[in-house]
Amino acid sequence: MSETKGPLLRVEELTHHYGIHLGCRDVDFELYPGEVLGIVGESGSGKTTLLKTISGQLRPSEGHVAFNTRTEGLRDVWAMSEPERRMLMRTDWGIVYQSPREGLRMNVSAGANVGERLMAIGQRHYGNIRSETVDWLERVEMDLGRINDMPETFSGGMQQRLQIARNLITKPRLVFMDEPTSGLDVSVQARLLDLIRGLVSRLGIACIVVTHDLGVVRLLSNRLMVMQNGSVVEQGLTDRVLDDPQNPYTQLLVSSILPV
């Protein structure tokens, strides 16, 4: 992979309105290769809207999202043609959804779910697709005996790991995660976070993680953005923001962590 210099992703004055309602407003940031950015905030603060507008699922009302493509450098994602954007979304990007039902095809087997991206980018050799699928299922610590089972029969944690394998098989450079661990019990959460942290650091994948769980961001992210009412109220290094919050809302958020 030829590493291009400069930021991997540049977001400028990104705003999204749902009719008269505000989704998110004037968000600016840059993301460098291998960096993990956490976005936190309470429910309804615009975290998911922001993620969707960045990740090509929701066209922004104003502002730009530019991605550093492998061949042509920084390009505005929303100025690309739709086939180009779709290609980008299934090769260099990955999206892990909060609900596995959104991110997986529930009516085909685990193996087909993981191999789908390879088939979508034109691989037509069953044996090769199968062996890569097996390789990735191993990496996310899945039981290979269940490769032909339907995702429906898997537990929540396994479904999330399946989503991760499905996204990482094309070796993306940027992965979006929307609340990847909510809805899982704490021990499964811990294992999943450990897995994500390991994969991300080993493969050098840049990541944007949206969550309301400050524990998750402390573990995963290098940098942190705090959102309230659609705006970014504070951003900085994760440890700095969590240990020395400046904004009143961030102070409230940090102080609301329940002591264990």
Binding site: E82, P83, R86, R105, N107, V108, S109, G111, A112, G115, E116, R117, M119, A120, I121, G122, R124, H125, Y126, G127, I129, R130, I147, N148
Partner: protein, 323 residues
């Protein structure tokens, strides 16, 4: 309809022998030629022209209520009604046979409403409306084959949203199509889809070939005849122009294959045709016969004999009656 009319119709329609073009059926009064009104036929012809211009692309059209239920060939019948002329000879087959209810009734429908000649011989027909099969006898440039299609969207089982499937067709975004084939290999070790096997038309559109056995898929490739597909309920029609490339989807290491049989046809001994299994009794006896009744009859008339029990002379010579 008066009793007198019914009686007249019964008289004119009844004589029917196996094979051979027949005239002498008179059009019944009160209907436009071939049932549909001229405006509707014009609308459908326009859609057909578009479909021929873009091979494999599903063209929406204003499907009409027809005097038969959805699923019985309302799409095919509308396409046939739009392309048929007084000089045409029509053949209708259902599962390869000319003498099943669906085939007999559609043939009689056009005999009555268009007064056209009908036939059971593939070579004599100018228009062949079909459900589930392509005749074994190769078609010529002078023929049109009309398929009845229940589900025109090949992506339907994988993607439920119509807006999304249309977008996938527009962008030729067909990777997911292979997922269903992958599933077959993963579970059974080979591609088991045996009918409605998806094809790529002219290297551009993925198309559902209607529920024909995959045995018939290779016949669609570079076929000299015009192929028209009508789906009445789904209000779509599409086409494959003559001499167009039609390729069945597959994997490099699991190439497309057609069905094979160890048996030959019990009546005519054919080894190259699609065989139907016929259960003879409840003691496990069965026979295999050609699904294409016209092909089978032609072979028997040419003196070929199979290994199975032969139909008696006084019986109608079609495989369906052989048991």
């Amino acid at each position: 309809m008066t009793d007198q009319m019914t009686a007249e119709m019964a008289e004119t329609v009844a004589p029917r022998s196996s094979g051979g073009a027949q005239h002498g059926v008179e059009r019944i009064a009160g209907y436009n030629f071939a049932y549909l009104d001229e405006q509707t036929k014009r609308m459908i012809r326009r859609a057909i022209l578009k479909a021929v211009a873009i091979p494999g692309y599903q063209v929406p059209f204003g499907s009409r209520e027809m005097p038969l239920p959805y699923g019985w060939g309302t799409g095919g019948i509308q396409v046939t009604a739009s392309v048929i002329g007084p000089d045409d000879t029509l053949k209708v087959i259902d599962q390869g046979a000319d003498d099943t209810t669906n085939a007999v009734n559609i043939r009689r429908f056009f005999a009555k409403t268009a007064g056209v000649a009908t036939t059971e011989k593939t070579v004599e027909a100018t228009i062949i409306q079909t459900r589930h099969r392509i005749p074994e006898t190769p078609l010529s440039e002078n023929q049109i084959i009309v398929y009845q299609v229940p589900i025109p969207e090949p992506l339907r089982s994988l993607e439920r949203r119509e807006t999304e499937t249309r977008k996938m067709h527009a962008l030729a975004d067909y990777g997911v199509m292979h997922v269903s084939l992958y599933e077959d290999i993963a579970h059974f070790g080979r591609i088991t889809k045996s009918y409605d096997y998806p094809v790529m038309v002219h290297d551009r559109y993925v198309m559902a070939p209607s529920p024909i056995p995959r045995f018939d898929n290779p016949k669609m490739d570079q076929m000299p005849a015009l192929q028209l597909f009508g789906a009445g309920r789904e209000k779509r029609l599409y086409a494959v122009p003559p001499y167009t490339k039609v390729k069945s989807l597959d994997f490099d290491d699991h190439p497309f294959t057609i069905e094979t049989w160890e048996e030959s046809c019990a009546l005519c001994g054919a080894t190259d045709s699609y065989l139907d299994e016929v259960i003879l009794d409840d003691e496990g006896n069965r026979m295999f016969v050609c699904s294409d009744s016209d092909y089978c009859r032609e072979r028997r008339e040419a003196g070929h004999v199979g290994k199975g029990p032969q139909p008696r002379k006084d019986e109608a010579a079609s495989p369906g009656d052989a048991q």
